[in-house]
Symmetry: C2
Amino acid sequence: MPNACVSCPVFSCVSYSSISLSQATSSNRRGSACNNLAFSGWKCRRQIFARAVGAIEKESAMAEKPGTFLRDSEGEPSGTNSVRARFEKMIRKAQDDVCVAVEAVDGHGFREDVWSRPGGGGGISRVLQDGNVWEKAGVNVSVVYGNMPPEAYRAAKPVNSPDNGSRLGSIPFFAAGISSVMHPKNPFAPTVHFNYRYFETDAPKDVEGAPRQWWFGGGTDLTPSYVFEEDVKHFHMVQKQACDKFDPSFYPRFKNWCDDYFFIKHRGERRGLGGIFFDDLNENDQEMLLAFSTECTNSVIPAYIPIVEKRKDMPFTERHKSWQQLRRGRYVEFNLVYDRGTTFGLKTGGRIESILMSLPLTARWEYDHQPVEGSEEWKLLDACINPKEWLQP
Amino acid sequence: MPNACVSCPVFSCVSYSSISLSQATSSNRRGSACNNLAFSGWKCRRQIFARAVGAIEKESAMAEKPGTFLRDSEGEPSGTNSVRARFEKMIRKAQDDVCVAVEAVDGHGFREDVWSRPGGGGGISRVLQDGNVWEKAGVNVSVVYGNMPPEAYRAAKPVNSPDNGSRLGSIPFFAAGISSVMHPKNPFAPTVHFNYRYFETDAPKDVEGAPRQWWFGGGTDLTPSYVFEEDVKHFHMVQKQACDKFDPSFYPRFKNWCDDYFFIKHRGERRGLGGIFFDDLNENDQEMLLAFSTECTNSVIPAYIPIVEKRKDMPFTERHKSWQQLRRGRYVEFNLVYDRGTTFGLKTGGRIESILMSLPLTARWEYDHQPVEGSEEWKLLDACINPKEWLQP
């Protein structure tokens, strides 16, 4: 079954938390106003969500980490065996594991902020800034409870499921995710980004036959300033191995999706050398996709850390540093202009510091910079313009 | 008469040039789909324009500056006395004057790029990068010819003018503007931005009684990292004096408009300490508004250069530099996320290097940076959060 919608904004950023969108009006039916405006499904949903800006609860700091951010009131299916409970457990363990691995290489520790929202949900933001190896590294987990207007539910659900449209009220949803960006200091050590998320809507209690919907989304991608082919191959190979354990079509499909997604349209180039990306994935068995997301999340350390260890102490010049800073500028352009999670999070009043944690510590914009053809800088740019099949024989 | 639309995207950035938008469909009538989606007039127009991305001609470099970028074919009113001709002359002289004034202070010269588009129009981009005083200073002029879909024309024209709607084909338009951002190195010397623009639609030849429309837009605003009250007062006083020569209501009105426009919504703060801003101005006499725009443009040098001369050699520490870099990060956030000219220009395939010339050479993002209450950094932030009446007795 094809995806009903190519990507779900609620998945792309899980830092904005606990959205109550029931104020949105019901004038946006998919196929009428949205299609008239040439919005695809996800754009439509993003519009619908983003219109309810005023309704978001402000987060507040917590002194201690709770055992879970899941509600256990309201008779929700938040038992320890539910997918949402197991997903939260998985991402919280992954946050610990990644931070331990990074601290072991860097020598500096992460700062931690814990926060929650009155209506349920919350998150843990961890940041390591100005370390020995990383300029800025952030690892967030968060859990979001919200209410989705019925239009967004209709736009989000698979095409062939029953509508029951006119009878739906606002639909409660749940989203949880881990999200991380790490920018090293050494210009030969690449930036990595990964993000894995799970989304569920509750079955509306008063509408018989209206199904609960769920989706997985995520990806891991590498953004070097210089191309070391062995590094990029290693990175992609780890992604492929994780994918191949579940479906041989996953790696080629999600590799291309990644190249398509991280495209800086106004530059005609990708922000980096890709990896894997998928969104709104619900056509496979739920248990299989939970296991797949877990495998991908656990692959971040073996995919990335050995590369940084190899490159972190390489000598470099001002020219290398300056080029890295220009590429960091491109990273900022992508995240602020195109990244769905970031742009959606900014519009809907999420926790700004968690959303913008992905931005590098420093970045640079030179007017009309053009690398000399054939130079090392040019090679990176060329690979960002013309994505390569890194694992071809 | 109130403005028909608060702001026109075609005015906000004149670097994208020579747009042919006739491919856009006619499903977006103001008051139907647009209002359903809670779009205001300008958002509606931006949508309509932005949908025709593929139709923009690629610019090409020119070896020499032409005497004018105006077409003189097709019987257009581009005689030397037309408003469009006088406006182009004014902004080209202003570009020369500002560059001479900046070079005199900096010691470095501007690089110049001249470009044109096959269908008419073009521009001159001048950039001074890594100078003695300025990190990056850009001054652009450009002239744009395009075709506006009838929906955009309807959305743009004053409310009480005749519609003749259903009979309109695509409307030829003309836009010309000067746009500049200058980022000094010294953290005590402020950034300035100014932009003045003129927009005209041709009266459709085959529709009797359909009026030619025209608007002026622009503004000059100051973005310091530290507040020197005498500097900010001087800057605002020069703006007020320029405004008061034409209408005593202009300064208070355009000062507030500026505070409203340069708002970084997700931060709850303005990018700087304001100045003046106006858009879609057509309720006054055209000659008066041409003279007013000229006065404002010519006020940039006396408003800004004396401040830089006073601050450019002040001793500073790493702390001051780091705070300046954080404020530069906010500048990037505003321009990439909110600025209509930038976001519209990026979407419609304008000349990227001219559009992004406004970005600082370097910028910085620290996680959760909070200035100490009462500190000099805090005072600036406070003034960005709570705009002040700098000229009150």
